[in-house]
């Protein structure tokens, strides 16, 4: 929420960090000569500066340079200065920097699952901060650790302090990281995508915690993110980075609501709007009907131990019409991917029906199943892992038709057409997947799914690994193809903004159950279930509406045709 009045009143003009003309050289043979080139910005005491940009823009490099954590000697600052509390960090010795780290500057990272040492208890890891910066006696240290755990909102500090990280959830681990970073009350906190790996409701809590602690401790926070929703939620000021340069710097209100630079406008314009457009009620005939679908995972824990059962899908019922996109929305562990996998029969169901046209799809077996598989195809989440790196793209796309008996030449000709349809051109046929960017690979994945002329497409988080501008293009492509080929689509996502833009109807899943099911704009505007309400209110920056200039820029930029990356 960009509230200009609040920002101005909160800002204290005392400068905490001053980066001037900083350039960081990359080793020879890298994509570009400098990771960061001639950037200047300041961070004041008691404010949150969001550094926002797409992957490869140099935002994490900047943070690491400030911390003195660049991967030396390959990557090093070659020009400029980083002044923090009066001295230039670039000229400091390693041991002087080490004294600053953890005491004057704290840092938290993106991946809470891997950022904690798995072999050390939470308490010991926090205690290490105290030990690294001077001696305090054990009792006092324990008391401080307990207080920290309590400060970051963790339950039962007395138990938690002696717990190993693997017992904690992602959100809890991120809270431990925050406790650790703030143990010695640093003047500055650097947060590198701290909520990107978290579920939306957890993200909202962590953002609130960071804001609360920042205010109560008068900290300067440098918050790195790729998500403009998060920026709108938390930023006082914003720096926008593009390929190593800061292209726009201003208050949150200025940048979000009146962006000046073309790149900023394009980025913001590509952010899916939170408000779903009202879509006409789908009119096609029902293509897929799922009724009472059940799937339980049973993990065996040895010969004699009791088996552990997790119900990933309980009594799932929905249908999809031809020409319609149904969104399956939920947080991690809600069972949405399980349902998708059951539909394409990557998993066998434990009960219920999947009726596809006249077919009882769930009970097909062997040759009969093989013959019918082509009707339901899948697009996967990870564009890197889902393509065989040793096969040329033409072969990847043609493989499905070849397996279904289409002659080689015909299949390749069809692959060529499809690659053109997804905007890649025939030249892609003879190249390998690694020669393409993430967005382009996802287009290949879509072409592969379409090669069998399916009637239903199951897209499992197809855009969540992509940068926002590429994401918008892939979403447009999916929507366009669906309309052109009159497909039905099951769109699995955790991102409500994306769901708002692409789904005609949506089903909200939680712990293996559908808790709400209806037309997208109705669910958004009038949610019935408590969980749906909680999900919707957790979406960062939901009160911010994307300015018209940005939307125009995004549309103008898109008619140029060629994908940006």
């Amino acid at each position: 929420m960009a509230k200009p009045g609040k920002t101005d009143e909160r800002r204290r003009d005392e400068v905490l960090l001053e980066v001037e003309g900083l350039s960081i050289a990359l080793p020879q043979g890298a994509e570009r000569a400098h990771a960061v080139e001639d950037i200047s910005f300041t961070l004041n005491r008691n404010e949150i500066l969001c550094v926002v940009g797409e992957s490869g823009s140099g935002k994490s490099m900047t943070a690491n340079a400030i911390m003195g954590l660049l991967p030396k000697p390959h990557v090093r600052p070659v020009a400029g200065s980083i002044r923090f509390e009066g001295s230039d960090l670039l000229t400091q010795s390693e041991s002087a920097l080490r004294k600053l780290r953890g005491s004057r500057v704290g840092m938290i990272f993106q991946e809470p699952m891997t950022a904690l040492n798995p072999l050390m208890t939470v308490g010991k890891q926090i205690g290490e901060v105290f030990d690294a910066h001077g001696q305090i006696d054990r009792k006092e240290r324990r008391r401080l650790i307990l207080k920290l755990l309590d400060d970051v909102g963790l339950p039962d500090p007395e138990i938690l302090i002696d717990t190993y990280p693997f017992r904690l959830s992602g959100g809890q681990r991120q809270r431990v990281m925050i406790a650790m970073a703030l143990a010695l009350e640093p003047a500055m906190l650097i947060a590198d995508e701290p909520t990107t790996a978290l579920d939306v409701t957890t993200q909202a809590q962590i953002l609130e915690l960071i804001r609360k602690l920042q205010e109560s401790r008068n900290m300067g926070v440098m918050f790195i993110t790729h998500d403009f929703g998060v920026v709108a939620e938390i930023a006082d000021r914003v720096a926008v980075m593009q390929t190593g340069r800061i292209v726009e710097l201003g208050t949150a209100d200025e940048v979000l609501n009146d962006p000046k630079h073309d790149y900023t406008r394009r980025l913001i314009g590509a952010v899916p709007q939170f408000a779903p457009p009202e879509r006409p009620a789908p009119a096609g005939e029902i293509l897929l009907n799922v009724e009472g679908l059940r799937k339980t995972y049973v993990t065996s824990r040895g010969l004699f131990a009791k088996k552990r059962e997790v119900a990933a899908a309980k009594d799932i019922t929905f249908d999809i019409r031809r020409g319609e996109t149904l969104g399956l929305v939920g947080e991690s562990g809600s069972g949405k991917s399980t349902v998708g996998r059951c539909l394409v029969r990557l998993l066998d169901t434990d009960g219920g029906h999947i009726r596809f046209r006249e077919l009882d799809f769930a009970s097909l077996k062997g040759e009969a199943l093989r013959a019918q598989r082509k009707h339901i195809q899948m697009v996967f989440q990870d564009p890197y892992a889902s393509l065989n790196p040793r096969q040329k793209v033409g072969r990847i796309v043609a493989q499905g038709p070849r397996a279904n008996g289409v002659p080689e030449e015909e299949a390749m000709a069809r692959a060529k057409e499809l690659l053109e349809l997804v905007g890649l051109g025939a030249g892609a046929l003879d190249r390998y997947p690694h020669e393409f960017s993430g967005g382009q690979r996802q287009r290949i994945g879509i072409a592969r799914a379409l090669a069998l002329e399916p009637e239903l497409l199951v897209a499992d988080e197809p855009v969540s690994a992509l940068d926002v501008s590429v994401q918008a293009q892939v979403l447009d492509l999916l929507d366009d193809i669906k309309k052109r080929l009159n497909l039905a689509m099951l769109f699995i996502t955790h991102d409500l903004r994306v769901a708002a833009q692409i789904c005609d109807r949506m089903a909200v899943m939680r712990l293996g159950e559908i808790v709400e099911y209806g037309r997208t704009h109705e669910v958004f505007n009038n949610p019935q279930h408590e969980y749906t309400k909680a999900l919707l209110s957790a979406v960062p920056g939901r009160d911010w509406s994307i300015p018209e200039v940005a939307l125009q820029q995004a549309h103008g930029g898109q008619s140029g045709g060629a994908p940006a990356r």
């Binding site: 911390m67 954590l69 080490r98 004294k99 600053l100 780290r101 953890g102 005491s103 704290g106 840092m107 990272f109 991946e111 891997t114 950022a115 904690l116 040492n117 798995p118 072999l119 050390m120 290490e128 901060v129 690294a132 910066h133 190993y164 693997f166 990281m177 650790m180 970073a181 824990r301 040895g302 010969l303 004699f304 131990a305």
Partner: protein
């Protein structure tokens, strides 16, 4: 309490596996061509008809297969591993006589290899790309690639024959009849060459594993977290990197500790070390099937025992192992 029940469960599993091995052994000897009694008696000329009949009676070889199996398993359970007609002694006694020597040799070699392997691996990893790293990795590769028996022979040539520092073979000086401390010293002197020869080979493996594992761990997020906390680099290497890097080393060590017992055949043969490996070598040449089967059984039991020890050690080192 949880740990105890975990150990009991693992022990139970180990016994089941051991029984399976016994059964396999039973069928192995019956898979050999000819009459099992003939095979057991060895291809000695002494295998006259009366002796064979006696054997058939004792082992119930004229009874149905399942009864034979019951007799065989029954024997093993009471630790009756049969009789070596070649050596004219019970197999169990033969093996028990040799087991301490083998355990002494392999145990020493094992600890040398682990300790030096971890040390050199850590040195190489913390100085990656420097001369020290290159030296350590090259030497490790050399030890790994050189055939064990060749190293053994060359070290005998150099240290015993040329320099005369150390005894060339055996475990004790023949005819010296030493006692007390002098005896210990004598055995220790005999132990140096075989233990080092065997140990260096395994040390090479641990060095390489430790090095690559440490480099992998050093790239992990939690190491960066530790650096961001301002922890001293020496402590980061010790507490964060090494402790995590040691986990795959323990796994491998557990697998090898079992193998090393039965796998020291070459070293024991070259150095005339009176251990199980040597016994196996002799049994093989004399076609002493009963003895061979006994050694198979004891070696498998050792492998299982060390696997069990590894599992238990692992529960202490890695808290993530659920004791269920």
């Amino acid at each position: 309490m949880q740990k105890l029940s975990f150990i009991i469960k693992r022990l139970f599993k180990a016994v089941v596996v051991l029984l399976a091995i016994v059964v396999l052994n039973f069928f192995l000897i019956r898979a050999a061509p000819g009459d099992p009694a003939q095979v057991m008696a060895g291809e000695a000329g002494a295998a006259d008809a009366k002796f064979i009949e006696q054997l058939q009676e004792k082992f119930g070889l004229n009874k149905p297969l399942h009864e034979q199996l019951a007799i065989y398993v029954g024997g093993i359970v009471t630790f009756d591993l049969g009789y070596s007609y070649r050596q004219e002694q019970p197999v169990a006694k033969l093996i028990m006589d040799r087991l301490p020597a083998t355990l002494l040799l392999t145990g020493t070699a094992f600890f040398i290899s682990i300790a030096l392997g971890l040390l050199f691996g850590a040195i190489a990893a913390s100085r990656v790309g420097t001369l020290a790293d290159t030296a350590v990795t090259s030497l490790a590769l050399l030890f790994y690639a050189t055939p064990l028996f060749w190293v053994a022979l060359m070290s005998i040539l150099l240290f015993s024959v040329v320099l005369g520092w150390l005894p060339a073979y055996g475990m004790v000086t023949v005819g010296a009849n030493l006692t007390g401390f002098a005896y210990v010293l004598d055995v220790a002197e005999h132990l140096v060459l075989p233990a080092l020869t065997l140990g260096l080979f395994f040390m090479a493996i641990y060095t390489r594993l430790t090095r690559s594992s440490m480099l992998e761990v050093a790239d992990m997020d939690f190491v960066k977290t530790a650096r961001a906390k301002g922890v001293h680099p020496a402590r980061i290497t010790r507490v964060h990197v090494l402790r995590n890097a040691v986990l795959p080393v323990i796994t491998l060590a557990g697998i090898q500790a079992g193998q090393i017992v039965g796998g020291a055949v070459l070293t024991e043969t070259v150095f005339a070390w009176p251990g199980i490996g040597r016994l196996m070598y002799d049994a093989l040449f004399q076609r002493d099937y009963n003895l061979l089967l006994g050694i198979f059984f004891v070696s498998s039991a050792m492998v299982l025992l060390f696997n069990l020890i590894t599992d238990v050690v692992y529960t202490f080192v890695d808290p993530r192992i659920e004791l269920k």
